[in-house]
């Protein structure tokens, strides 16, 4: 028990000491300098102080009460002395502290850094891409990763024996009852494009949608292929959508992501679900198009595939291709991250080495 509490107890036990004790406590607690404590000592414990008055009072008491009162008086003196000493120490400490604060410190000692977490580099790139399209008026949608063949291929104008299917080796899901239906109709989506169909089925144009997510392909795993990867799909369906608008949209995107000096070019390509289709290159940001090792001396870096949504796709979702037109594009996030940050091996993204993750 501390001195203060004992003093309070003492004042409750001895009514005669109550006022003296309370006054002493308030004097001591009111001290803010060593001069104050010296004065307080004199006022309470000095020859003409309160303690003298206490003992004078005791000496006038009836004889049988004196021993107890004397003990209380002595305890009061001890406690007050201790309390004063404690107060003096406190004051000295604060004086010391003030003077220490005036001294210098070694500001080169390492700071105390609260632990810092990191967003995964791929999430960061996805957020950057998505943010750009949100600023262009797109809404964000997602879809299932395990998909029906219908959404992944058929509705995207890739019928069962279309040669385009041999371009992507697909992971299929084992059916618990393979006899019940076509055994190969559930798969891991090979791209994020099924979201196009799902959104178009459930809503009517105008649609301006961006959809980030995982996709899966049964590729040999190496520096540029992993069985799982991220794509961002985007599409716009409205009256009067043109290929020129697709081109302009991708230019805005490329400049926002890779810098204002970038130019893009579209190369004709083939995708079953767009026509006309194109692959899109951005002028190399490392060499400004002059040719360097990053762009394999071509001056261009391929960043995505795109095209005008094929009328056959519209017919699967019941849109009239004479009324609505649309464009769609899809990009591999790993590839963009690799180009942007000079990462040579895609597998780094999924090793999750903390030292790698903390670089970004």
């Amino acid at each position: 028990m501390g001195e203060l509490e004992r003093l309070r107890e003492l004042s409750r036990e001895n009514k005669s000491l109550k006022s003296v004790i309370e006054k002493s406590i308030s004097i001591i607690q009111g001290c803010s300098s060593l001069e104050d404590t010296r004065d307080a000592r004199i006022r309470i414990l000095g020859r003409k102080g309160m303690i003298t008055a206490v003992f004078e009072g005791i000496s006038k008491m009836p004889e049988d009460e004196r021993p107890a009162a004397g003990r209380a008086g002595n305890e009061f003196r001890t406690l007050v002395t201790a309390l004063l000493e404690e107060k003096e120490k406190e004051i000295e400490a604060s004086i010391h502290m003030e003077s220490r604060e005036l001294e210098g410190i070694d500001i080169t000692l390492p700071g105390r850094c609260p632990p810092l977490g990191k967003k995964h580099i791929l999430s960061k790139v996805i957020d950057d891409v998505v943010e750009i399209f949100i600023s262009l008026g797109y809404s964000v949608e997602t879809g299932p990763e395990v998909e029906l063949d219908y959404y992944n291929f058929e509705a995207l104008n890739t019928p069962a024996y279309h040669p385009a299917r041999s371009l992507q080796d697909t992971f299929y899901v084992k059916r618990s009852d393979p006899e019940r239906e076509e055994p190969d109709d559930i798969l891991l989506r090979t791209h994020t494009s099924p979201v196009q169909i799902r959104v178009m089925e459930s809503r009517k144009p105008p649609l301006y949608v961006i959809s980030p997510g995982k996709a899966y392909r049964k590729d040999e795993i190496d520096a540029t292929h992993t069985a799982m990867f991220f794509q961002v799909e985007g599409f716009a369906v409205d009256r009067g959508i043109t290929m020129a608008q697709l081109k302009g949209t991708l230019e805005v995107f490329a400049r926002k992501l890779f810098g204002s000096k970038r130019t893009v070019r579209l190369r004709p390509h083939f995708f079953p679900f767009t026509e006309p289709s194109a692959e899109v290159d951005v002028s190399c940001f490392a060499c400004d198009g002059a040719g360097c090792s990053i762009c394999k001396h071509s001056g261009w870096l391929e960043i995505l595939g795109c095209g005008m949504i094929d009328p056959n796709v519209f017919s699967h979702v019941g849109y009239d291709p004479e009324e609505f037109s649309g464009f769609a594009f899809g990009m591999g996030i790993e590839r963009i991250a690799m180009m942007k940050y000079g990462i040579e091996d895609m597998r780094y993204f999924y090793d999750d080495n903390i030292k790698f993750l903390s670089r970004f």
Partner: protein, 812 residues
């Protein structure tokens, strides 16, 4: 597809640099992978004639050849299996420069004890092809001792093209010539085909029957008799090598040559080996077997289209010939097959056998049914030219799949509307005509599609054709016009991002691991049969690296990340992953996909620092992180209950309930689980359903902070060790009344100061009224009722009570 520019110049006059040509092709849809310059810097190579071959005295796999170089006979060590005396081949003399294999000049060498005075070269060593299986065999027409440059156009530029699956017509020299001609507005010529037919009777004796007309649109055949099989002439060999083929003999080489030239796959049969001189195109019967040219025995079934003679299959149609009818050195009479097979049938059969060939890759994309006859004539012409055979009169031509030409209407304004351009009707017409479309023009264009363009059926297909030849780079840039009001993240998306951010703000690293899992992971997690996490979605065709099913938990992925990091010296880990887990669903078509948050802590909670000592992560770090997520999402209605899980240490796991629903768990992993993943140390894991959090997420609500000072009271009680802290806290709250603003545990003590089996809990209580300054009586009354409730309900003994003004420094 490898296109030799030397070969290509046969069909059009190229006056552009290869780089420029490559760029043009690239920008019109024919991607150029590489520009390969062959033969540059090659010197000191002559035509050598092998005079004699002897075994190497010290090495079984080597021979010693005597080779004539035009003036001398030199002794050369050679390991090629096709080395025979009499052959003419490429002979590099000492001092030769062979850039394909070395940067320095060729020196005389001593190979296993025999001096080699030069080197005989394969196509690869010569730098004109990829074949390394043997030395090049030149025709007998070449002069021994001649410089190789005078014999072969060694120097060439080859464009390695990537042809998209919709453009089989571009898988030929003619197809590429047509594209270039359209791009450059340049004339191009088909090869001139003139044949002199012989009054042979052989063709009459050949019968062809198409028994599967659905899978064989057209079957054309020609016969060349009395051929003399030998190596084909050097020019043809070189062109084939540049195209990536291996030279075989003057008949097989011609079939390959025409395949590359016209894009029409051909097959040459030795007619004398065709039983009954009868060709039947039919589906195989179950149990039939064919040994294909690659030496493999193939079990055929009813789905496989075959070419058969009167008793056996002699080829898998459109994919690969059989050994039983193969052209050999003894072959005299050659039957040339030039057919058009149904793409799907070829695609499926080729996939079933895992057998792809130059033929099948063209057939499965769709060849020109009209072109078979021309290709057969071309092959007959070349074979008779270089092997001295006689071409039988006429051709066999069965055409069950004959179709009318396709006409497509193109509306020029629609084209301009879709592309956002202004291309005149005249220009549209010009572009299409250069691609061999025939146009009759009215208000709209009526376009006749050439038979080799099987990809063109609709107006949009023509729009693309015009756009790509016009040039995508000439399309202007624009932006969509419409206004959009739905832009942005969905509520779900926003909350997911917020969860991620609060975890990162608490020092955790976001990780991403593949969505796969092994069945072994179920064992490692000690899951009993029937446990919810064992309802896996299994893959039909997994990769060995990925695991055979989809993950039902984020734990295996996180634990593998821990192992990967521990193995690299990163022992202190605070990581999380947000991602899907998958459960098979009975009855439903698609599995159930759930978004989850996995959190894992292991190692030290803070990094080393000069001013503080380190401590290890424990359960309460994890619990605090989880509670911070809940607080950030304004979820008040949650509880944590003790729970047992097969993978969690007994008595050290907790279930998170949000709004009464099971939302996940947190706890310390069993050491058996940790060991199963080859991990060291204690591992704390939480896995929480994102959906549960999203459903429960609330909005911040403003509550008055209060102008009047609060009163802080510390109480410390002694209770039985078995009494849970939460229970005590609930009693305090229940009895503190409205004035009790907050309760927090600031000390837990077990030890010598208090009896065994007991613990001391010290709480800091803060009371506040919104109407007035509280008096001592107000507070004491509440505290007294709290204390007596604690005494009554959990047998608590009050150890100490401290009062102080709100906000004062607590004395310990």
């Amino acid at each position: 597809m490898k296109v030799s520019l030397e070969w290509l110049s046969e069909y059009l006059k190229l006056e552009v640099e290869p780089e420029e040509l490559a760029c043009m092709l690239d920008l019109s849809g024919t991607a150029v992978d590489r520009i390969i310059r062959i033969g540059t810097g090659l010197s000191g190579v002559v035509v050598g004639r092998v005079v004699e071959v002897q075994p190497h005295p010290n090495a079984d796999s080597l021979s010693v050849a005597h080779v004539e170089d035009g003036s001398n006979v030199r002794e050369v060590v050679c390991g090629a299996p096709n080395l025979v005396s009499g052959m003419r081949t490429a002979f590099a003399l000492p001092g030769a420069r062979l850039p394909a294999i070395s940067t320095s000049e060729l020196k005389r060498a001593n190979i296993r004890g025999v001096a080699s005075d030069g080197m005989l070269l394969s196509a690869a060593e010569l730098g004109i092809g990829e074949d390394t299986s043997g030395i090049i065999e030149l025709g007998q027409d070449v002069l021994v001792g001649a410089d190789i440059h005078d014999v072969l156009p060694v120097e060439d530029v080859v464009l390695d093209l990537e042809i998209t699956p919709n453009r089989p017509d571009c898988m030929s020299m003619i197809g590429i010539a047509r594209e270039i001609s359209a791009l450059l507005n340049l004339e191009f010529n088909y090869p001139e085909i003139e044949i002199i037919e012989d009054e042979s009777t052989y063709l009459d004796s050949v019968k062809v029957k198409v028994g599967a007309p659905g899978d064989c649109q057209r079957y054309t055949a020609r016969l060349v008799s009395d051929v003399k099989i030998s190596p084909s002439p050097s020019w043809m060999q070189r062109r084939l090598m540049a195209a990536g083929f291996r030279a075989i003999n003057n008949v097989v080489d011609v079939t390959n040559y025409v395949l590359v030239e016209l894009g029409q796959p051909l097959h040459a049969f030795d007619l004398e080996r065709i039983e009954g001189k009868t060709i039947i195109v039919r589906h195989a019967e179950r149990g039939e077997v064919i040994r294909t040219l690659d030496g493999e025995d193939r079990q055929l079934d009813e789905k496989s289209l075959v070419i058969a003679d009167s008793s056996n299959p002699v080829a898998i149609a459109g994919i690969m010939g059989g050994e039983n009818s193969e052209v050999t050195e003894q072959t005299k009479n050659v039957l040339i097959e030039s057919a058009c097979f149904e793409p799907t049938s070829i695609y499926l059969t080729s996939k079933r056998f895992g057998l792809r060939s130059e033929s099948s890759s063209r057939f499965e994309r769709g060849t020109d049914p009209i072109g078979t006859s021309r290709a057969a004539r071309r092959a007959a012409q070349l074979i008779s030219q270089i092997s001295g055979g006689r071409i039988a009169l006429g051709e066999i031509d069965i055409f069950p799949g004959k179709k009318e030409s396709i006409f497509v209407e193109l509306r020029p304004w629609r084209l301009n509307e879709l592309l956002g351009v202004e291309i005149s009707k005249t220009e549209i017409t010009n572009i299409l005509e250069r691609l061999e479309f025939k146009i009759s023009s009215g208000e709209t264009l009526n376009v006749e599609v050439p038979s080799f363009r099987r990809d063109i059926e609709r107006e949009i297909d023509l729009v693309e054709e015009v756009a790509r030849i016009f040039g995508y780079n000439k399309i202007p840039s624009d932006l969509p016009k419409g206004g959009r009001y739905e832009a942005g993240l969905s509520k779900t998306g926003k909350i997911e991002r917020e969860i991620s951010n609060i975890l990162i703000a608490q020092g955790l690293f976001e990780c991403i691991s593949p969505s796969f899992m092994q069945n072994l992971d179920l064992t490692r997690l000690r899951l009993p049969e029937g446990h919810a996490l064992t309802k896996v979605v299994t893959l039909l065709n997994p990769l060995s690296e990925t695991g055979e099913c989809m993950r039902t938990s984020l734990m295996p992925g996180l634990l593998k990340i821990v192992r990967h990091n521990q193995n690299r010296g990163n022992k202190d880990l605070a990581i999380f992953e947000t991602g899907r887990v998958f459960f098979s669903a009975e009855g439903n078509k698609l599995p159930i996909e759930m978004d989850c948050i996995g959190i894992l802590l292991s190692g030290m909670a803070s990094s080393q620092h000069w001013s503080v000592s380190q401590r290890e992560f424990d359960f309460f770090d994890l619990k605090g992180i989880v509670e911070n997520i809940l607080h950030t999402l304004f979820i008040g209605n949650y509880s944590l209950k003790k729970v047992e899980r097969p993978f969690l240490k007994s008595g050290r796991g907790s279930m998170l309930q949000v709004e009464g629903k099971d939302a996940g768990f947190l706890g310390e992993l069993k050491s058996e689980v940790v060991e199963a993943y080859d991990i060291k140390g204690h591992v704390y894991v939480a896995e929480i359903s994102t959906d549960c959090l999203i459903q429960a997420a609330g909005e911040p609500e403003h509550r008055e902070i209060g102008r009047f000072p609060g009163v802080k009271v510390d109480i410390s009680i002694i209770v039985d060790d078995g009494v849970e802290c939460e229970r005590v806290e609930n009693i305090i709250r229940a009895n503190g009344g409205e004035l009790l603003e907050s309760v927090s545990l600031f000390d837990l003590y077990k030890g010598t100061q208090i009896p065994d089996g007991m613990k001391s809990l010290a709480f800091s209580l803060e009371f506040r009224s919104f109407e007035r300054t509280l008096s001592d009586e107000d507070v004491n009354e509440r505290v007294d009722s709290i204390v007596s409730a604690l005494e009554r309900d959990v047998g608590a003994v009050l150890r100490k009570k401290d009062e102080g003004p709100s906000g004062s420094v607590r004395q310990n």
